[in-house]
């Protein structure tokens, strides 16, 4: 007890010292150096890139409300995005990428030529090839392949466009997830949802612009950075909502605190914060002001939108929801509700796709099938439900993992595993997109006979990002943020729009 108080006092002293020196400096140089520094801060951080304010520090609309909407530079095809991320990496070879030849080579040693110079997370020595563990059929008018692990999904196969030869250069979950969501395998970059909210804002004033929902029992391996705001102002980070219990922690007012009193408290805090901002012009203060206000409004709006109990029974059945529990189905239904209410970016993470074959739940023929069952109905229902509400044309749905899985059976420690499994594989994996601006029933890219590498239409993670930004109305090469002296892009210096899957 004593030590923690001492710790607090020490922290207070440190903070005070920090503030005092800065305060002193800025005060004494308010008209000179301070003004110069502030103007550079403004130029760097103001997303609208207005000229720096000279003597008066007027608030722009975006300063006061960082989530106010901005027009995309080019005609957008979609207004919202729902990103379904299967954390752990689903096996494309059991779901969408049918490789009959792999059956023929089942049990044979993987050719050395394929293994040379390649890195695998666990595979050692010479692994054996493993044929598809699912049965495939061509479905719909498009004739695209879907396995029997996804019996519902085949009904919407003509709505989606497949990318069969996506590749990544990361072979471990954390970096690969970061790469998939921020465009860089290292920490510190804004996530794609943060970019979208930063660039477009959000229509609904009572809900966050970027909502994150997780299922499968664990958060993604890369942690919250996969929905972080990186160097963008923190107001653009994803807001994680829970589908079990209170959607947002501490959303209820404590006993004895009336809503009115809460409102006036926030007003007073924000008045002080605005004064602070006029002094220091730190955009983080504005973000804080806005977050207080939004939190106050969210207390009413979020429990409402996050409540799936009021949905009609046939909708609940269609998604296969489990009210009160944390499930992918609940999250899909919530994603529809959020998009319906104008949320810009909804990010779903479903954990548990890492099918190495070391445990039963992580086996290609058993555990994977359970995971497929868990997502099959909900993601199909999501597409159909958005469609019948006229929302699918305004929404982009993206499905995929952080990488794919090897055509070889995993032989961890050069031993036979307890169950059938596949190792991490970034050379070729499948993703799909559906919704506005997407060519229905398209399939782009082709892998070789065993599904090891893409031989046609290979696309990179940057290409996927460029395409998503294109659909939102951005040129990914022009959409930048200046940080530490240079302009940053989601797609770094790469990325080409995948026109083959665009309508």
């Amino acid at each position: 007890m004593k030590s923690s108080i001492e710790k607090l006092i020490r922290e207070k002293q440190v903070r005070e010292a920090e503030v005092k020196t800065r305060r002193h400096f800025i005060k004494s140089c308010a008209q000179g150096m301070g003004g110069l520094a502030l103007s550079s801060i403004f130029m760097g951080c103001d997303p609208l890139r207005k000229p720096a304010p000279q003597n008066t520090m007027a608030f722009s609309e975006r300063d006061l409300n960082p989530l106010s909407t901005l027009a995309p530079p080019y005609g957008p095809k979609v207004k919202s995005v729902i990103y379904l991320h299967m954390a752990g990496a689903p096996s494309q070879l059991e779901m969408f990428d049918y490789k009959p030849q792999l059956h023929k080579y089942h049990g044979q040693d993987c050719p050395q030529s394929l293994l040379e110079g390649k890195k695998f997370a666990f595979i050692k020595g010479t692994p054996k090839l493993m044929g598809p563990q699912a049965e495939f059929k061509q479905e719909g008018e498009s004739g695209n392949w879907v396995s029997n692990f996804l019996p519902h999904f085949k009904k919407v196969v003509d709505e989606v466009a497949f990318l069969k030869a996506v590749h990544t250069d990361q072979f471990n979950h954390g970096p690969a997830q970061l790469f998939m969501h921020t465009g860089s395998p290292r920490l510190g970059r804004p996530s794609i949802g943060a970019w979208a909210t930063y660039g477009l804002g959000s229509v609904n004033q009572n809900l966050p612009g970027f909502v994150v929902l997780t299922s499968g029992g664990n958060a993604p391996d890369a942690g919250k950075s996969v929905w972080g705001s990186g160097f963008l102002p923190s107001v653009y980070q994803g807001v994680q909502c829970r589908s079990q219990g209170d959607p947002v922690l501490y959303i209820e007012d404590p006993k004895g605190m009336s809503r009115d009193l809460k409102g006036r408290t926030i007003e007073a805090i924000n008045a002080i914060n605005k004064k602070e901002y006029t002094k220091y012009a730190d955009p983080e203060i504005l973000a804080r002001i806005n977050q207080y206000e939004m939190a106050y409004r969210m207390q009413i709006a979020v429990p409402e939108v996050m409540n799936i109990n009021n949905e009609p029974e046939h909708i609940k059945q269609m998604y296969g929801v489990a009210p009160g529990k944390e499930s992918f189905a609940n999250n899909c239904l919530l994603a529809r509700k959020l998009v319906e209410d104008g949320v810009r970016f909804v990010q779903l993470f479903d954990w548990g796709w890492d099918t190495h074959g070391n445990v039963r739940s992580g086996s290609i023929d058993l555990g994977l099938r359970n995971k497929c069952r868990e997502i099959d109905r909900p993601m199909t229902a999501l597409i159909l439900d958005l469609k019948q509400r006229g929302l699918l044309d305004d929404t982009l749905i993206i499905w995929g993992g952080e990488f794919g899985r090897t055509p070889m059976q995993e032989n961890r420690g050069n031993k036979k595993m307890a169950y059938k499994g596949r190792d991490h594989h970034g050379d070729a994996f499948t993703m799909w997109m559906a919704g506005g601006g997407i060519k229905k029933g398209a399939s782009h890219g082709k892998t070789d006979d065993i599904g090891f590498s893409g031989i046609e239409g290979r696309v990179s993670v940057h290409d996927v990002h460029a395409t998503v930004l294109h659909l939102l109305g951005f040129d990914h090469e022009q959409f930048t943020y200046e940080f530490q002296g240079r302009h940053f892009r989601l797609t770094d210096v790469e990325g080409e729009i995948i026109h083959e899957i665009l309508a």
């Binding site: 104008g342 109905r377 159909l384 509400r389 309508a503």
Partner: protein
Amino acid sequence: MDILLQLIGRLHPLIVHLPIGFILLGILLQFYDRKQGEFKRVVSLIYLWGALSATLACITGYLLYSGEGFSFDSVKWHLWSGMATAVFAFLMFDNLREKTLLKALNKIPVLWMSLLFLLLISFTGHLGGNLTHGSEYLVEPLPNSVKSRLGFPVFEKKPIVLNAENWRDTPFYEGVIAPILNNKCVSCHGPKQAKGGLSLHTKEAILKGGENGAVIVTDTPDKSELYARLILPEEDEEHMPPKDKTPMEKAEIELIASWIAQGNPFEGTLGDFGLDRELFLSFFPKKVVLDHPDLEIPKAEKDSITAIEAHNIHVDVLSGDTHFLSVSCINKPNFADADFEILRPISQQIAVLDLGGTQITDAVLDKLAALPNLTVLKLDNTDITGATIAKLTALEHLRDLNLTYTPFQEKYVSLFPEFPNLNKVYLYRTNTTAQGLVPLAEGRITLDYGQYELPPIPSDSIVY
């Protein structure tokens, strides 16, 4: 000998600058000297040099013309005016000498003659420049608006017009091959210039080939220069089009190959040759579906937008390249019919209007008809029954109509074909009975009744 003549011909662009320099110098000096008349002899001498070098330019010019495959029509004015310049230079020389041969010329004021001379040399030089750089060299950097005002074509490309419905009826040569050759080859191999003796703008010219013979070996693209050069590595000197020109698209190269493989026909349509649709996919127009009419409209007043937003109605510019607006009442669920008046100042700019979940009634549709550019209209989760839906037939751009979760009645569905541009109507959870997608008005309109179902299947409950 031929090589030598060609080489001398190629010195023409160098040599032409000598007469230009001499003659301009002479004219300037003559003007400077117009009062005193002190330099008359010097000027005369300069004109002599000008005349001699102009003659040399004429000779090299003629060699260039005959050695490089220019057509006479394209060079004739340059040729005649160049020769006229040379002759005129001799005349000026003679005119300024003390003992003139042609006395008659002395009667014309010297300054007039100089002025004429200046015009002549400028005209000749300009024509020569046109030949080397193309007649649009000086016009090209100008903005399109200025170009068209000056009467220059904005771009001379022949478009390849194909579409998914009737591509089979397009003539193979006229509709596809000729435009490709025109857009990518004819600037160097055409009526103005025929490099390597080859021009590709007419059937006869194509069949004639170039200085090394025919460029097409019928039925065998690989042996035909016309195709083989297209697929050489880009670094190869023989590769066509040359490095600094617009390269051919992959699809265009494939079409040239299949045209030769089909016996390079100049008659017949694409359908006649049973060509694969895949070959033409990249030429089909990309359907750009915009949420607004393809019109230029004035920008909405900033003040009127601010005033509307003060009512908690959300107004957004659709995108940076248009002034059309999207209006949403998502933050104003109590929006009622009377509130429509708030939107009047921007009635021309509204292209997307979301009144979903508001208090509006059938009466509002009458007012909505006053939004001339409305393209997407969302009336979901309201009390719209459809009784006044006919009012919206006045909206000539209305494309998407969302009526989900309204008491919209079945009997009004028959009015939709009267909507001029309607494409999609969402009718999920209305007073209607159908299910799924139903085409209307010969497929122009799709009604989406929704009610999609995912009936339970045994595997739903199998846990592995």
